[in-house]
Amino acid sequence: MRFALAAVLTSCALALVGCEKKTSAPPPAPGGGPAAAPSSGGTPGIAGDTILIGEVGSLTGSEATFGISTRNGIELALREINAAGGVKGKKVDVRVYDDQSKPEEAANAATRLINQDQVLLILGEVASTNSIAMANKAQPAKVPMISNASTNPKVTEIGDYIFRVCFIDPFQGYVMAKFAHENLKFNRVAVLKDLASDYSQGLADVFKRKFTEMGGKVVGEETYAKGSTDFRSQLTAIKRLQPEGIYIPGYYTDIGVIARQARELGVNAKLMGGDGWDSAKLFELGGSAVEGNYFSNHYSPDDPNPRIQKFIADYKAAFGSVPDALAALGYDAAKVAADAMNRAPSLDRGAIRNAIAATRNFPGVTGTITLDEKRNATKPAVVLEVGKGKTRYVATIAP
């Protein structure tokens, strides 16, 4: 017995001593490897006169509403594309898989799209966690992927086949910090963030850094967990610090309740947030309490630009509601993909990747999209004020 124990300990020690820095490039991960060869000679994603693209979204689970908005946006874009004759004379079909808002399912769905369905490119995911999971499958297989709304910088850092049509957390956090400091002239703000959401944490971190750099003071930071509906203790603690504004980069599901309870507790500070606020539900959940507060967004529904107004009218006709930012981003992602496919010299994945990377000044509904060398969209953000049952455009803030 003792002998066995000694042997185990010794071998552990030896293993530790024997470690050294890796010198050579790491070997290819088993199972990854080069792109799976097309099954029967044809180009992946092309079958006769249809082009097959893939989409992964959270159609069920905790983030189902985001997935469904995205899905509608993509659907609308594809209808328009196909009505206009498709891409290079071919119809574009999309295969959608649900990832139940879980990264392991997102990776599974991406693997499936790449290897079983042999799609030409992949659209999707809102949650950055899920996009990262997908990108880790798409990149080694060299399948282009366009995320519509994942704002975490890490997503496109995974490789040169991964793109996005939205701006990233650092920009959005900067937008609100700048707006709070320059337009609203705030000096003291507090932060209330959702501990369970990487999106919320990312925005909060950038906001804190930028706001402090601009000379303001972040007086306090509190957190909540998705699913709770009692924010009074955090708000009471924040009230004590007497901030002029509270930055709450959360989702609309929580914001309405937070706004009501803030008013109830006599918190007079303005509330500020990010694109997670954007939903018609915000007005229902927040009532009058949420009015007069600000959030940054990808586009403004009351932008007079005819392109945007046409999109809103078409979306309303098709799905019966005002599109939120995620629908607009889904729409843009599909349009950018179609545009790249049109421009690409041939319909193979490498050529399409290059075409996507070369996207410049694309007229999307969420602004004029240019993809930079890090494959992120650079475009301005808008700040909206919440009004009675709708939002009002306040300012545009450029990168």
Binding site: T223, Y224, A225, T229, R232, T253, V257, G266, K281, E284
Partner: protein
């Protein structure tokens, strides 16, 4: 500052009252059946949705009248009593003589069915998105201290009054009526109770209905307090309330009330004066601590296994 402290105290009592009301249901059912009714929190959730439906039907004018509010409460409580009866009759009663584990698994199954079933969006089911609960008590300031440093709202007072009334009624029912005596006898030993001519099945069913009705009442108060309702709310509130019941000593009626208030206050003050990011760990850390130090809870004692 004293005003912050007072505000935290108010918040803590408000949250604790809800925990206490839900915990009462756990404790009563545990008392008569020795079963952790895992689905209790979800019954509460169903109650709030029933109340929501009734309030919607009444419309904005009628729902905030006295009769409207009463109707919302009564409908939710009656509906949940029926639900509680059905659950007991068809899911728990057939398993009463089976190992306790069987009933526990069933309870988890029912909890899962209710909370995730309500997330579907076909038919009358509400779907996953949260909804704003109608303001059946129009908010008005009841007491304002200083320059709005501490505000007590009318609905906070009304909720507390309703909660206290419900608890007193329960206490009276358990200790002053024939039904209460029968209930305590069943809780003591249901075989002996049956031998003494107590209709055990009926008493257990009634206890279930009573507990479910209390949960529905708590649910409406919860919805008034936090303004938004959603299908998964029952899981969280239910778990916390269960922790409250164990802290107070499960099976012990005053223990549940004290446990609920204690948990509400502890959570509130941890957030207020420490860090809000550990809030959800507090309840369960507290639970493990209690089980280590005083397994029977503050008021209960560990019952020896019968041999």
């Amino acid at each position: 500052m004293i005003s912050d402290f007072a505000q935290h105290l108010i918040n803590g009592v408000a949250a604790g009252t809800i925990y206490a009301l839900v915990a009462l249901g756990y404790t009563m059912v545990y008392g008569v059946l020795k079963l952790i009714n895992f689905a209790h929190g979800d019954v509460m959730m169903v109650g709030t949705f029933l109340g929501y439906g009734v309030a919607q039907r009444l419309g904005p004018e009628r729902q905030s009248t006295l009769w409207g509010v009463l109707l919302v409460f009564l409908a939710a409580m009656l509906g949940c009593a029926v639900l509680g009866f059905l659950i007991e009759r068809f899911a728990y009663r057939p398993l009463r003589d089976k190992p306790r584990l069987t009933a526990l698994i069933t309870a988890i199954g029912i909890s899962f069915t209710l909370s995730y079933g309500f997330q579907l969006d076909f038919g009358p089911l509400p779907g996953a998105a949260p909804r704003a609960f109608p303001e059946i008590i129009i908010p008005a300031e009841w007491l304002v201290i200083g320059d709005r440093a501490v505000v007590i709202w009318n609905w906070q007072v009304i909720s507390l009054a309703i909660a206290i009334a419900l608890m007193l009624m329960l206490q009276g029912l358990v200790y002053r009526t024939r039904f209460g005596r029968a209930m305590r006898a069943v809780s003591f030993d249901h075989r002996t109770a049956a031998l003494m001519g107590i209709p055990v099945d009926r008493i257990i069913a009634l206890t279930f209905m009573l507990g479910s009705a209390l949960a529905a009442g708590a649910g409406i108060l919860y919805a008034i307090k936090d303004t938004a309702i959603q299908p998964l709310m029952g899981l969280y509130v239910g778990l916390k309330a269960f922790v409250a019941a164990v802290i107070g000593g499960i099976g012990n009626v005053p223990g549940a009330v004290v446990g609920g208030l204690l948990l509400g206050l502890v959570e509130e003050f941890v957030v207020g004066y420490s860090s809000s990011s550990w809030r959800d760990a507090v309840a369960f850390g507290f639970l493990i601590l209690v089980l280590l130090v005083r397994p029977g809870g503050l008021f209960g004692r560990v019952a020896a296994e019968k041999v």
